[in-house]
Amino acid sequence: MNKLRLIWKGLIKENPTFVLLLGMCPTLGTTTSAMNGMGMGLATMAVLILSNIVISCVKNIIPDKVRIPSFIVIIASFVTVVQLCMQAYVPELYKTLGVFIPLIVVNCIILGRAEAFASKNGPLDSALDGLGIGLGFTLSLTVIGAVREMLGSGAIFGHRFITGDGMLIFVLAPGAFIVLGYLMVLFNKLTAKQRQ
């Protein structure tokens, strides 16, 4: 039960995108379609889970002073692993996500969880925490991507449901800011009711 809560909290209560406002660059940059958003979310989740496990295993060996650089090296190694895997198995997606794959290194969610959770808890809990936060991130990115794709090109996950053109602006840069802004308003509104 407790373990389940660990996963659940990442989805809603500590949702990295809508509540903690972390990892904004990939959130805005890669959500041109639901598929791209989900791909980015899953890649980040993989790095997050793996780095959380390793960091929680070696947390007692690393001296406190060089903690942050060591975390960054561990994270960067897993990013390279994920990068090479994606290049090999999903080259199309790798090309569309482009520079944002290596930039997972500087995604504050990952370093944030390493510092706040993995460096204090055991490997299993850390893995579950990574899974929860990763799922929350994937969910938000997929939702943002789906909304932008629906408005922008009249399709969802590549399946078109209208004929003709959508509102192109939502696929372009300004649409990212505007859609995220309005989704955040919606999220605030819904959770505000829940809190009362």
Binding site: M24, A76, V99, V105, G181, Y182, N188
Partner: protein, 190 residues
């Protein structure tokens, strides 16, 4: 002429924040006042200018000859983190006045994805040393421009009566969207 195109493209057409979505965290985080955003812009320009040269040398004189280009991400992030730390120490000794002005922003830059992003982009675009330098400085100027413009807008926004659910980040994001739309007007320029 070639350099002129790089400069215009990096500042206006492919603005690093509003078109490429790099460095959003400082864009949303330190843009509530024009004065602090000027400081952040200056610090980023300073670090990016130095890091472009260091990264260029690292890529073409260490990684490529050794055949370990796949170490790019790890090598770049370590070098940038070390560089920021070094710049901070040197600045403290050499120019205390400048350190006073930029000091608090420097540690924040390590996690600014714009610095690492530009480093990766300039390798991807296969720029030579001078082009890399020009590209980095003009990208940083584009970052500073977006930051200062946005800070000016947010200062005015503070005084407005914004609906409860929109307060804070949501209205800032929507404003940024409109600013990005304005920047799209530059898209036919180059």
């Amino acid at each position: 002429m070639e350099y002129f195109i790089i400069i215009i493209a990096a500042i206006f057409v492919n603005n690093v924040v509003l078109a490429q979505f790099l460095g959003i965290c400082p864009f949303l985080g330190v843009s509530s006042k024009v004065s602090t955003s000027l400081g952040m812009g200056a610090a980023v320009t300073f670090v990016m200018a130095i890091s472009s040269i260091v990264v260029y040398l690292l890529q073409y004189y260490v990684l490529v000859p050794l055949g370990i280009e796949y170490m790019q991400t790890i090598a770049f992030i370590l070098v940038i983190a070390a560089l920021v730390q070094m710049v901070e120490i040197i600045l403290k000794k050499v120019s205390p006045a400048l350190y006073q002005a930029l000091g608090i922003f420097l540690p924040l830059i390590t996690t600014n994805c714009a610095v690492l992003g530009v480093a990766i982009l300039l390798v991807q675009k296969e720029y030579n040393l001078l082009e890399s330098f020009v590209f980095s400085v003009s990208t940083a100027l584009g970052f500073a421009l977006a930051l200062v413009l946005f800070a000016g807008l947010r200062e005015r926004l503070e005084l407005e009566d914004v609906p409860q659910a929109f307060r804070g980040t949501p209205i800032a994001l929507i404003t940024a969207g409109i600013l990005a739309m304005a920047f799209m007007g530059f898209s036919g320029l180059v």
